[in-house]
């Protein structure tokens, strides 16, 4: 389809709705804010990636011969803080969520467009603190800010780093409130709750977690500031404080934060798999329940980060059990995605390849979670590279694969252009292999005892570190490729038309790129996955293609 297929539009698309820089900086259009966020998080993804590239180079040899101990500690801390709070937590919600949520439910914008813009400015505020932290020489506590190290011993710029995380947290809360209100109030006539695309459900579940968990993080980090700045004895045991209190509060946020990072990815994967399998999602209602189940149970498993912390062994048993329970809805989702392929008509486009990557890597990440929920195994492998590999499979393998999948899937909608398919498939495959080469050896060395956050290490682990660094080089290349060909496609890509994938979501009824008010005519609301005849005993016929 090309532009010629569409009627001449008097309405300019959102990209041409204003041409000045001010029209972007003062926009309340959810689509433009999505773009602003996309540019910002790409910048921070780059910062986090450069930091870890130096770390991986350092780890090529067992000796600390590239950077100093302190520099090494600051680099992995920077990587963690930036990647978690300035890339992964916002990533899919603030870009695709912002851009697509109103489109998918047939609305003109989010419920609170100005708060949405404020959310971006708060992100910039938090980002400014983080840049200030880097300029001030960095911080060396690890992204987890464990006390009493962070409050009484670290010489790094803890206060600015913590301030940045608090501020960017409010950005998350605002996005969450906005999404919840929008989903409740602005659904088009006929868009009932059980006609919502799973991406919208995923945004809704994520928003609930953001709104409920993030304030706890802000409070916890304020306590760090209180102890470090005003010397209030909160965590200092020599003055009656309790260092473990911090870990409980921190993980009460930071475990749900993992679900903030992965629930949106599940939403993206659901849209892509249904579209390119040309099949209604298997078990839609169960998928919804599983999303909500994960979001809720996720609040009750934080203690599994603390099996060796000195927490009571009875608490360990309870948290272990609850962690096994959160595995069940996650497994249901994997089975349902797989079953969606059954009797489908599968096309292996680049987004579909990314969705397959997501599925495989999420499965490995989830299954290794079973090891970590098992207390005796966790005692051995926690704080080793086994854990590092596990959470990268979930947070990078699954979430970032889904992010790139969504980027390619909705690129025609966002820009009006098609990306070059062959290059995109190549990048997807390269990313999958690069990722596995980077992180699979880390499972092995973790089991063998390689502790995390080690600048120097015993020589027997070198072979795994070399493999891992090699994989990271491939992975870095695979991340750069889309940057190049997507920019190219902005100028030279084929025009996409409204619905290049013949997908069923409402967003595909709007022109590509959509105009400022999203829809030229009111969208027709129906089954979001109407890819084949309705199912049921009456329709049991062979309709082979």
């Amino acid at each position: 389809m090309t532009d010629a297929a569409l009627p001449a539009r008097p309405v300019p698309d959102y990209l041409h709705h204003g041409h000045t820089i001010w029209s972007w900086l003062s926009t309340t259009d959810h689509k433009r804010i999505g773009i602003l966020f996309a540019v910002s998080i790409t910048l921070f993804f780059t910062i986090g990636a450069v930091a870890i590239a130096v770390v991986r180079l350092e780890l090529l040899t067992p000796a600390g011969d590239l950077v100093s101990d302190d520099t090494y500690n600051k680099l992995f801390t920077l990587h963690g803080i930036v990647m978690v709070w300035f890339f992964l937590v916002p990533s899919i919600p603030v870009t695709f969520g912002n851009f697509l949520l109103p489109l998918m439910i047939g609305a003109k914008d989010l419920a609170f467009p100005r708060i949405n813009l404020l959310s971006w400015y708060l992100y910039l505020g938090g980002a400014a603190f983080t840049v200030a932290t880097i300029i001030a020489g960095g911080v060396d506590t690890g992204w987890t800010f464990y006390t009493p190290y962070s409050t009484m011993f670290s010489n790094g710029a803890v206060l600015t780093a913590v301030a940045g995380v608090i501020v960017v947290g409010f950005s998350s809360v605002m996005t969450g409130v906005n999404f919840i209100a929008t989903t409740h109030m602005l659904r088009a006539p006929g868009m009932t709750w059980f006609r919502l695309p799973l991406f919208v459900w995923a945004m809704y579940a994520t928003s609930l977690v953001m709104v409920l968990a993030t304030p706890v993080l802000a409070m916890t980090l304020l306590l760090i500031m209180a102890e470090r700045w005003f010397e209030l004895p909160i965590f200092d045991p020599s003055r009656g404080g309790d260092p473990l209190l911090f870990q409980h509060l921190f993980w009460f946020y930071s475990h749900p934060a993992v679900y903030i990072m992965v629930l949106p990815a599940m939403g993206v994967a659901s849209e892509i798999i249904a579209c390119f399998a040309r099949r209604r999602l298997f078990g839609y209602a169960f998928m919804v329940y599983a999303l909500i189940g994960i979001a809720v149970i996720g609040f009750f498993v934080w203690g599994h980060h603390m099996f060796v912390s000195g927490q009571s062994p009875y608490a360990n048993v309870v948290f272990s059990f609850l962690s096994f329970m959160v595995a069940v809805p996650s497994a249901i989702k994997v089975f349902n995605w797989t079953a969606t392929l059954y009797r489908g008509s599968i096309v292996f486009t680049a987004p579909m390849l990314y969705a397959f990557s997501f599925l495989g890597l999420f499965t490995i990440g989830g299954l290794t979670g079973l090891f970590l929920a098992t207390v005796p195994i966790d005692i051995h492998v926690t704080d080793t590279y086994f854990v590092v590999a596990h959470f990268h499979y979930i947070m990078v393998g699954a979430s970032v694969s889904a992010f790139f999948g969504g980027l390619h899937f909705w690129w025609p909608k966002i820009t009006g252009r098609l990306y070059p398919e062959l290059w995109a498939r190549f990048a997807a495959v390269l990313m999958f292999f690069g990722f596995n080469l980077t992180f699979f050896p880390q499972f092995v060395m973790g089991y063998l005892g390689m502790p995390r956050r080690y600048h120097v290490y015993p020589p027997e682990f070198q072979v795994y570190h070399v493999l891992s660094t090699g994989g990271a080089a491939l992975l870095g290349g695979a991340y750069l490729m889309p940057l190049a060909y997507l920019v190219w496609s902005l100028f030279y890509g084929r025009r996409a038309g409204a619905n290049p994938w013949e997908a069923q979501g409402l967003e595909w009824q709007a022109p590509s790129p959509p105009p400022h008010d999203n829809f030229l005519t009111p969208p027709r609301v129906g089954d979001p996955y109407d890819y084949h005849p309705p199912e049921g005993p009456a329709a049991l016929m062979d309709d082979a293609a």
């Binding site: 101990d69 500690n73 987890t144 464990y146 009493p148 190290y149 011993f153 045991p237 020599s238 003055r239 009656g240 260092p243 298997f282 060796v308 000195g310 009875y314 048993v317 096994f324 329970m325 069940v328 249901i332 797989t338 079953a339 392929l341 009797r343 489908g344 008509s345 599968i346 499965t363 299954l367 079973l370 090891f371 929920a373 098992t374 207390v375 005796p376 195994i377 005692i379 051995h380 926690t382 704080d383 080793t384 063998l448 005892g449 502790p451 956050r453 080690y454 120097v456 015993p458 027997e460 072979v463 795994y464 199912e535 005993p537 329709a539 049991l540 016929m541 062979d542 082979a544 293609a545």
Partner: protein, 338 residues
């Protein structure tokens, strides 16, 4: 670069158990993963666009049954792993009677160990094989973590708290000791050697070490230095709890809690007495936090133990003959052991 090594020695009784759990869960995970992988490949080939496979809708009854079926199956697998490896393992075994108790103090960035009769070492820990070991660990500054991969054991070591790690080394050799909790600049250099020796070799090693005062005598000196006796000595006129025979007994606090007077309780009672004033006494004891260091507290507790008929500090004797004088009261509280 040394060659690729895929196995890790099992050097403690606990290691076998962890490996059994690890490889059982690995087996379960592998079966699930391979099954999913096969399904993905088969579906991808059979149902790629343009094949002549059947593509009719599924009856809704079947869909529902499949969904309920695998939800139930997954739940049972999860409960099985939990029940088999967590339920039975995690609750601590009762302390063995003839443990060799070694005090470990972690600080930025070293491990200090003190053996029962005063032998000390830094960044190394010599242990006799096939002897139940009880490490009582504390930190002087931040949180560290005592991690010996060959033992499959890890325990965070916190300031102002006693963490206990009980295990039995089963294999002679040198093994890595790592600090596993990030603790600052030289975290990755806070490592040491675990040297597991035959029991006679260990006895010989201990004899060759320069001996400082043993912990009990250090504790006795500190008891005098800090003036504890002014209130706590039997002849004192001040109304304060008498300490002889206290260790290991049940204590009722003013707020109604009942606790065992173990290492953790005594440490807290010295550092922050008013957190747990004993029922029937006025809260008049001053805080010793900031006055008594972690090593001082260890010594004081060792002295208090010795005042309870618990001359447990002769570790060498204890491994050859189970101590007869250790009363049932000397069983430490279950919370402290793993």
């Amino acid at each position: 670069m040394t060659g690729m090594r895929l196995s890790l020695p099992e050097a403690s009784g606990n290691a076998r158990l962890v490996d059994t759990a690890f490889f059982t869960v690995f087996g379960i995970a592998a079966v699930i993963f391979v099954a999913l992988f096969i399904l993905l490949v088969v579906f991808s080939i059979r149902y790629r666009r343009g094949t002549r496979a059947r593509r009719g809708p599924l009856p809704s009854l079947l869909r529902r049954e499949i969904e309920i079926g695998w939800t139930t199956a997954t739940t049972f697998v999860a409960i099985f792993i939990f029940w088999w490896f967590v339920g039975g393992f995690t609750l601590p075994p009762r302390a063995a009677p003839n443990q060799l108790e070694i005090h470990v103090v972690a600080k930025q960035w070293m491990w200090k160990a003190e053996h029962p009769d005063g032998a000390r070492e830094i960044d190394a820990l010599h242990l006799p094989v096939n002897t139940p070991i009880r490490l009582v660990m504390t930190s002087e500054d931040v949180i560290h973590s005592f991690f010996v991969p060959a033992f499959r054991l890890k325990q965070d070591v916190l300031p102002a708290r006693s963490e206990v790690l009980a295990f039995t080394p089963t294999r002679i050799g040198d093994f890595h000791l790592f600090c596993a909790e990030f603790c600052g600049t030289q975290h990755s250099r806070m490592t040491g050697d675990i040297v597991v020796m035959t029991q006679p070799d260990y006895a010989g090693w201990v004899r060759r070490q320069p001996h400082g005062d043993n912990l009990v005598r250090q504790g006795e000196a500190l008891f005098a230095k800090f003036g504890c006796g002014a209130c706590h000595a039997p002849e004192s006129q001040v109304h304060a709890p008498k300490l002889a025979g206290l260790y290991g007994t049940r204590v009722t606090l003013a707020d109604g809690r009942r606790l065992t007077a173990d290492d953790a309780y005594l440490r807290n009672a010295i550092l922050h007495p008013r957190d747990g004033t004993v029922a029937g006494y006025a809260p008049i004891m001053p805080d010793y936090a900031g006055v008594a260091g972690p090593a001082d507290i260890d010594a004081l507790i060792a002295y208090l133990k010795s005042q309870s008929g618990l001359k447990s500090q002769s570790g060498l004797k204890s491994q050859s003959s189970p101590k007869s004088q250790s009363s049932p009261k000397s069983q430490s509280s279950p919370q402290a052991d793993r």
